[in-house]
Amino acid sequence: MLTLTSPVEIWAHRLPAAAKLGALSVCTVLLFSLTTPATILAALALVVALYASSGAAFATHGARMLRPLWPFVLIVGIWHLWTSDPAGGAVIILRLTAAVGAANFVTMTTRLSDMIAVIETLTRPLAAFGLKPRRFALALALVIRFIPVMADRMGQISEAWSARSPRRPRWRVIVPVTLAALDDADNAAEALRARGGAD
């Protein structure tokens, strides 16, 4: 399946995932403790420099990943122009862009398998509460395996609907898709049990 890791390999891909996540946490906390426009602008400049150091293709991809933010930028912008506090609005927008940009940078330079390895290490203490690491890994693998299967099936069900009716299927496909998911869950559970169980 498609991941958000950038296919353009840069220097940051070679850093260990745990170090990147640790640095990101520290930077995000620091970023939200900044209040003056000048310091936040400097922080944003650092994030931009990170992307710029990684080549044009990587930077363009990074800019595209910020697109979902535009409704918030628009709302905050209009709001603060309306209340004639443009400096306050700029602080919020710049901080948001820097925080999301930094987080995206870590996502774009860390492979899914490395990220999952860190998550498994972090959740190991939860074994005391009954979350067995093997079960967790199995659940993650099942989700990744079944998303494309279910997406295909939803497509087939919509097509079957369109072959019978001139109208669009709309929400009605969700019932058969959910039923199929319940069946898949039962079948997968049986298959697991036949192969020695989940433990």
């Binding site: 991941t3 919020i92 993650l140 989700v143 969700i174 998911a181 319940l182 898949d184």
Partner: protein, 180 residues
Amino acid sequence: MERNLTHIALFAALIAVLGLVPKIDLAAGVPITAQSLGIMLCGTVLGARRGALAVILFLVLVAAGLPLLSGGRGGLGVFASPSVGFLIGFPVAAFVTGWVMERTTLAPGVAATAAAVIGGIGVLYVFGIIGMSVMLDKTLTEASYLAMAFLPGDAVKVVLAGMITQSLARMRPASLLSRA
């Protein structure tokens, strides 16, 4: 045990698929995605504990870098964006929806609609509004005006969650683990 695990995993996949499919326009002409409907269904079908675990599993994969949120969003960036409150609220919403579903003896359709209103709107919006208020530096009142933009879509999804749960209960009564 295996059944619990596979149900949790398959419903995590279901949330993803409901958000991946572009423009499964639910009601006429309104391009809303079905993702939060998936959160509600986790609660109404799987019940409190399993439903919340399915949502957490889904969020773990989003954080790990899979573009599973509606519109192909994902990665760590979404947890630094103003919608982070809704993401944190998702598992709690599924839990409360499932909890209400397990506790009432009403007919499945009615119970699911009520549970989805309480969990999928009431509880979820508390988290969402707090999140937007912190991230956008607004008061809670101002942030709740912003959240109202999502209300019409979610009202539609609450009704759908009720109807879908009702259909599942009629077609396969044993499938509602929240009522098992």
